[in-house]
Symmetry: D2
Amino acid sequence: MIVVMGRESTDNNVDEVIDKLKGWGFGVNLSKGDHKTVIGVIGDRKEEVKSSLEALSYVEKVVSVSQPFKLVSRDFQPEDSVIDIGHTKIGGEELILMVGPCAVENENILIDTAKVAKETGCQFLRGGAYKPRSSPYSFQGLGEEGLKLLKKVKEEKGLSVISEVMDKEQVELVKDHVDVLQIGTRNMQNFNLLKAVGKQEKPVLLKRGMSSTIEEWLMAAEYIMAEGNFKVILCERGIRTFETATRNTLDLSAIPVVKSKSHLPVVVDPSHGVGKSDFVPQMSKAAVAAGADGLLIEVHPNPESAVSDGPQSLDFGGLRKLVKELKEIAPVVGRKL
Amino acid sequence: MIVVMGRESTDNNVDEVIDKLKGWGFGVNLSKGDHKTVIGVIGDRKEEVKSSLEALSYVEKVVSVSQPFKLVSRDFQPEDSVIDIGHTKIGGEELILMVGPCAVENENILIDTAKVAKETGCQFLRGGAYKPRSSPYSFQGLGEEGLKLLKKVKEEKGLSVISEVMDKEQVELVKDHVDVLQIGTRNMQNFNLLKAVGKQEKPVLLKRGMSSTIEEWLMAAEYIMAEGNFKVILCERGIRTFETATRNTLDLSAIPVVKSKSHLPVVVDPSHGVGKSDFVPQMSKAAVAAGADGLLIEVHPNPESAVSDGPQSLDFGGLRKLVKELKEIAPVVGRKL
Amino acid sequence: MIVVMGRESTDNNVDEVIDKLKGWGFGVNLSKGDHKTVIGVIGDRKEEVKSSLEALSYVEKVVSVSQPFKLVSRDFQPEDSVIDIGHTKIGGEELILMVGPCAVENENILIDTAKVAKETGCQFLRGGAYKPRSSPYSFQGLGEEGLKLLKKVKEEKGLSVISEVMDKEQVELVKDHVDVLQIGTRNMQNFNLLKAVGKQEKPVLLKRGMSSTIEEWLMAAEYIMAEGNFKVILCERGIRTFETATRNTLDLSAIPVVKSKSHLPVVVDPSHGVGKSDFVPQMSKAAVAAGADGLLIEVHPNPESAVSDGPQSLDFGGLRKLVKELKEIAPVVGRKL
Amino acid sequence: MIVVMGRESTDNNVDEVIDKLKGWGFGVNLSKGDHKTVIGVIGDRKEEVKSSLEALSYVEKVVSVSQPFKLVSRDFQPEDSVIDIGHTKIGGEELILMVGPCAVENENILIDTAKVAKETGCQFLRGGAYKPRSSPYSFQGLGEEGLKLLKKVKEEKGLSVISEVMDKEQVELVKDHVDVLQIGTRNMQNFNLLKAVGKQEKPVLLKRGMSSTIEEWLMAAEYIMAEGNFKVILCERGIRTFETATRNTLDLSAIPVVKSKSHLPVVVDPSHGVGKSDFVPQMSKAAVAAGADGLLIEVHPNPESAVSDGPQSLDFGGLRKLVKELKEIAPVVGRKL
């Protein structure tokens, strides 16, 4: 059960509710977001106190939640979350395109990609400054220098910027340079990192773990929201199966499944999903048709020479062609691009 | 390597080529289709005899094939296969919709479904007369009686009809009643059954095994084609993964992957793919956007009372709404409905 | 619910029980085995008639079964099934070793392998006469000639013989040549084949489907038993997962899981499980330690030249060494070899 | 290629080699362990400089490594690693048993479990102070208080102690309280955490990621070793598959596969592998038979009341019985307990 405090409620009001709940023998989880303060109630026989709580003038509503995830669920918030990010919004009518190289390599590549992104109407530039790599001997990213390049290009070109944060200690630095913090697939259950990004206010894009069930994914989002940050964007990026013809198996059915359970926006990363640029356009269109709120696509001016993930990156011609096609399909499913 | 005989070539010509090949020490696999006679060449150093064979007037072409599947591959036939089925064609511009109940239960249900299929512009009625069921104590299908009902409705309503064949012995009977024979997911590697449907001339819809790789699926199609029946339609129906929120994981990336390797048409069965009717419309649209040549959708006048697979069946209202949406999305990806 | 008829019960007695059940509105499934006649009762409110049935003198017992599988379950038969096969028994104290080449290639290989099998104390010779192969162009087995070789060697060497049956039509022929019929992994849900081997009296070794759950596997065994053949041996042979370091992932935990649910014996095929002969000895010992009733191991006099599955076959030296080790480990877990 | 410096080599010698390598255009990775200093050489045409390096008196050997993992591989160290941990050694003849509750709950439970561990001859007490839980609302562990309890019991009872570290920031604290640091399955690719435990000197038990290939697992171990900590113990704990009868699928074939590629010791966690205490004894014995160097087993005085993972925990009677059986099986496979 969740107690949603009214907008005008004071800290004293919150303390009063918590005291009441503890007095009745319940456990309590407090989430203070920018717009909402919410108290999770833990324990049996919660329904019995529901009406007493609803009677309080500074309580907006009391919500029963049947799922293990609470703040994430549609029971808690029936209408879709629309997340405001500077120049754009995710989760509303507009289809969001986040494009760019896997890793930030140098300024020229970023600037060139940003130009094409801007020209084609993409809203976001993506690029990894910290790179999780299977081998300790592979390029690990430019780090802070990469973040600075992202920020510079963002300011010059007026695009929003997203980049990955791999570690609790990087959160402060990354959030000062980007508009959206990305949690990678390998960190989906790095619970301390989830708590850390839940304690700051920038939106968080949470990639599905490569072998996570949808429920585990939503529970990971709950970790972030339980700390007070309600601006969570989910990202399907393919799951691990026995099939080796594609890098992962892109689970597009996750989109309608998530939408039926949660109010959070869902974007799709077809590049990691299939791992081959030839198949990215079809899967991008399919994702939009299945109801995705946006796409995260790897784009590189010269995929053959990319330091990371070249085979799955579109070149500029590929991006231009794809955006053209997406502009045709978007309105058919009620989206604007 | 594959030797494609010219249209005018005689049996004697074929024998001559085979004798030559055997004389040179190669193994031989002969496929006599309605339109094409093809000789597979097995052994090393095949390339050395290529020009000798091409010089023969009654040989159309000699094709090198790098894949383990030969007749199935785009090396053998670069252009898409378009399969003619009485009133319609699969693999061309037209988007094909195959709808109907999981199992043929009685005449009324079939007739009612056929009416709505006809009214909405679906080309095919589907329905199982022989049902593979996990439990020996579950309803096993109406058998021959079910086939007769399908044929009757087909003749009355002018729809094409598709139904499953589970066993070599049923092939003769099933093919006399339907337009397309379906091989189910559990029989994808029932090689004797594949050979049997390869020896008759009706088109075959081959469902992907629930844990088959795309390569194994194409090899299964090769079994059918190697017997001379080139009219094979592939059907993606979801693969088995760790995720339990959906019945299977619908692998839509299989569409572009197959299209890159093979000339055969691909249809998608979103009903088995997700197992819940709520998610069928989104996945149907996504399949079309990803390039599917058609859809196989479970439809039942009253899903709650269906003897099999009710939870994944659309009702008539659901079908009408979905076809309306498909008619909007089809032209955007170059399809007609 | 299952009605087990007494040993002395007549056909008339069986008919009487069936008439009663039908009169009460239940569905009925009759299984006539060599030793037991059993009537499955289908429908709701079965418990109400339990005592009426138990009161009949020619009814041995009436068993409630909570699982979807009935005859297979420990509810139906609490004690382990011990299956008698000529010179040996599977499911009792004796550890059973079934060894031999993947495919029957020629008489010499069979005779040589049979000698080493006999010398080391293995009870069974295995070898495929009909081979399910991914490619239609691969060696498909010697067929009837292979069966004859098996029978000849069996008679000369006094070993039991097991071979695969791929098709309903082969059942008659195969059962005349071998002691145990094998159903391969690809045919685990070929329900018509399961029914066919259920209608004859020779024991059946049922391999787990490569992506079958344990419950589906037990349901497949139920198909055989429901036709009256209670001599079913289960065989774990590895399941399909994302891991590619081994051919399959050998699921040894299936042994205790099956033993907790069913009275049927379980043997393990480590050769297909791991696909590399180097790892076969460790997994063989592990299978025995986990409670397996026997092992099915690929052995070839010269693995490098085997027509099929050479990399996973032990040579004679490897077999001798392994059996020596198994003789040490078997008594520790209460087995005799 | 890897350059292993001689034991007597100085920092100057190391610098000289690095300068040479850089001068020749190679990349360099330096690992300074307690006993070994090792220089990884990155780049093409490495073989050409091998003899020049081997000629240097302070270079012990130069090893070519064909695998992506270097220090982990048997190419680098052909003989088994035996890791010294105070009173015991892992990777040698002795079979190591690590037992205890999933989470440290209170002192009494720890003391009681430690007594039984000691009495039965187990060498290690395990218990989680920091607990990664799917839900933010579940018990997250006692934290530092839990670590103190572990240390106290360790000192009183003379057992070695192992506990999980979830976060880079916890490394310092955890290592001061325990003998072995555990990296959990969800953190197997938390690369910054791997680097952190690689920079301290206590042994690290690295659990396999629940959907990690064996190669990815060995690459994660390489991350630790590349920082200079060579005391890595691998732990197989079950992988995620489609099967739901067990919590995970325990991949015992990982033991011989890892042993063929790496010199590192491998222990097995059958409790998480199967998730049901009924199946733990069989899988424990199987793991030992397959060559495991030790077992990590959940034990609780009263499993029904455990705050976490009760269903998979043995009670004291269960542990006593299992150790008795393990003492019989260990010598058969060349182990001492």
